[in-house]
Symmetry: C2
């Protein structure tokens, strides 16, 4: 496992996601103050993929440099405000989510085992469940 | 700007991305040790969207619980190994990338201004560009 590459790739994904968050924020502000500009930015953003934040900004800089500068400022602001909290949030989230998946799985397996055991041996006859996992004579 | 919500949403995006990284890692391991399982997981992963890591794991737990458990363990391992480095990587990346976008933009604007000034005033006649913001006496 190449952790260095994984960290780099993850940082790139976060950067693009924060660019998207910044676009959403600026769009929200423009809707209040300059609906025409909001409409323009919305159209531009639906035509230009936001998957790659840098390519998006490069394209926007050619069309509306002021908006691109504003989005860059906002994404830096968001990054500085939230990044320090992310490691603990992510690790905790994954731990809790893993625990929950395991719990649900165990619950399902236990229920199946109970149902199966009832099907195999509906009247408590120990000989009814010799080879087959499901008793062919049940019901 | 709702930073708390932005942090939550970003943590969710990272969690799903690390799930994807874990699937990639397990796929790489299986290709070496169990090509049939690798083929199965690859097919499953191309049919089940990995955009939502939790939904993906839930679906996989129904089909192949062992593989799902392994992916969960790997994603937690990756998260614990790389998350602490992400805040500095992301903030630095955004700062550097913003600086680079601004530099490139400034360079383009300067080049345009030079070209414009040459076009407006090709022979250095100061009266040729009275209204232009570009310095008429340049060159």
């Amino acid at each position: 496992m190449d952790f260095k590459q994984a960290a780099k790739d993850t940082a790139q994904v976060i950067t693009s996601y924060l660019t998207f968050q910044a676009v959403k924020t600026v769009l929200g502000q423009l809707k209040e103050t300059n609906p025409a500009a909001a409409y323009w930015l919305n159209t531009f953003s639906s035509q230009t993929a936001l998957q790659d934040g840098e390519a998006y900004l490069q394209a926007l800089l050619q069309e509306q440099p002021d908006l691109a500068m504003r989005i860059m400022t906002v994404r830096q602001h968001i990054a500085e405000a939230i990044c320090e909290f992310l490691p603990e949030m992510v690790v905790t989230r994954i731990q809790q989510s893993n625990t929950e998946h395991r719990r649900q799985h165990l619950e399902r397996v236990t229920q199946w085992a109970e149902v199966e055991s009832e099907n195999i041996n509906p009247e408590g006859d120990p000989e009814a469940s010799s080879d087959s996992p499901v008793n062919p004579t049940a019901d």
